[in-house]
Symmetry: C2
Subunit: 283 residues, 2 copies
């Protein structure tokens, strides 16, 4: 497994790989890899001759009041996990390498970045799309892998790829959960014991919503209300609970077609998100 | 020479070319090719195994009040010129191909797009950087060629390439002029006989500025004033006359280092730009 820290070396490796007719799959991460990340790596391993995991905590997608400084990292553990999963390259540039001078250029996706996580994190997606564009230009992948947990991020990146004609296929992989249903996240480790137990309610409320819809409930507000009641019983503070069209992210009132139920809940400063896609036609 | 009209075919051709170890040079144009464009093509021909000329009148870089609808075009003449210059591919997608749905994604460069041409054309550079990003993702060039006439555009694109890590080298080629000194432009054909004669003053005023600096003048305001006086004698209306640092485009008062003198003048609805770079150290 190669460890590459510079853009020049990464591009040169990518060019060489492509000239050899091989395809590169990238799993972009901020490190502190868990089984969710590794499920993306395993999927990438199946699809591509070369698998690159990028590890970079991207300051541009954090707001000043967010947890950039405390975001967990453990590069040695990440390396071991990648080695064990037959990753070919870890690309782990430092901040100076990725932002050598004041950046003036931003890749911005309008409208679908304004709601859900965009309300309380107004510059978040601009940071995400810009770093992903950078990574695509550096690593030159044919396919890129993201987890469904960041569902809105996936839709935003897919729209960016379409609009800017990146020759990269975006693969969205299922949410990986702890045994009790909590969606895996690098931030889970900051939950105290009580919060950790309570956080299970996020997934439970989504399962409850699924059950309601399976039973024939089609009123989105009613479902949102039921979820809200469940989460109000725990100490986490609701950021949003929303039901939207899974494809275009438009707000809906009537459950039909593919539906996204998404939520964000903050325990002290620890912000957790979760979601479920319900394909109403298949119910 | 291949004529390619779809993104899919262009990307597939690019991928094949790169896999063969060949390099692509692109000359992005809006068509109606003149000797200025062809000088870029000739330079690209020297540097690359494969030369692609893109022809696309990019609506996104025109404001509603601008000359999009009357922008000149003559694809047959363009094809002949490209054929004669040993171009390998003309990439000429239509609008529907390049903007199949409402685009939500924009590549925007801040600050250096706000002055000079950015004042009267507030969305112009956002349109330019976005289409250039799209073209880079579609044509996958190693090098891209632009004329110095659009000097600010060149600096903006260079900054975009740096910030987003496009693996593309930007080559800026000298301004090509008519015999009487007028910078070549697809828009020159709209000048009437009187305007055409008057337009020569744009270049003459820049040459005068160069002469003043060679004589030891270091006061930027004084030079701007002299240029203004010359241009005020013709019917064209001054949009701007500015002296700036040629690299970072900062406004300067004292002539030193590399200096850009740039101007924009409008005859009726025909907006002409011209500029000169003066390397003070070499004087």
């Amino acid at each position: 497994m190669k460890i590459i820290e510079t853009i020049e070396e990464m591009q040169s490796f990518a060019n060489q790989t492509i000239t050899e007719g091989k395809h590169i799959g990238i799993v972009p991460t901020m490190g502190y890899l868990h089984d969710g990340h590794m499920s993306l790596v395993n999927r990438a391993r199946l699809d591509n001759e070369i698998v690159v995991v990028s590890i970079f905590v991207n300051l541009a997608q954090f707001s000043p009041n967010e947890d950039l400084s405390t975001y967990p990292h453990d590069l040695e553990a990440d390396k071991t996990k990648c080695e064990d999963s037959n990753v070919d390259v870890i690309f782990c540039p430092n901040e100076k390498e990725m932002y050598p001078s004041v950046p003036l250029t931003w890749v911005n996706v309008d409208i679908i970045t304004k709601y859900l996580c965009g309300i309380n994190r107004p510059n978040h997606f601009k940071g995400v799309t810009t770093i992903v564009a950078k990574l695509f230009n550096i690593v030159k992948p044919s396919k890129s892998y993201f987890g469904q947990k960041d569902y809105q991020q996936n839709r935003v990146i897919i729209k960016m790829v379409e609009d800017l004609n990146f020759d990269v296929k975006i693969i969205t992989c299922p949410i990986i959960r702890e045994k009790d249903g909590l969606a895996m996240s690098s931030r889970n480790k900051y939950l105290d014991e009580k919060q950790r137990k309570e956080a299970v309610v996020l997934n439970k409320s989504l399962e409850r919503a699924k059950w309601l819809i399976a039973r024939g409930e089609t009123n989105a507000s009613k479902i949102e209300f039921e979820i809200k009641q469940m989460i109000n019983k725990i100490s986490g503070e609701i950021d949003y609970i929303e039901i939207r069209n899974a494809k275009n992210l438009y707000k809906i009132e009537l459950i039909q077609d593919d539906v996204l139920i998404a939520l964000a809940v903050t325990f002290d400063n620890i912000r957790l998100i979760d979601n479920i896609i319900i394909n109403n036609k298949k119910l």
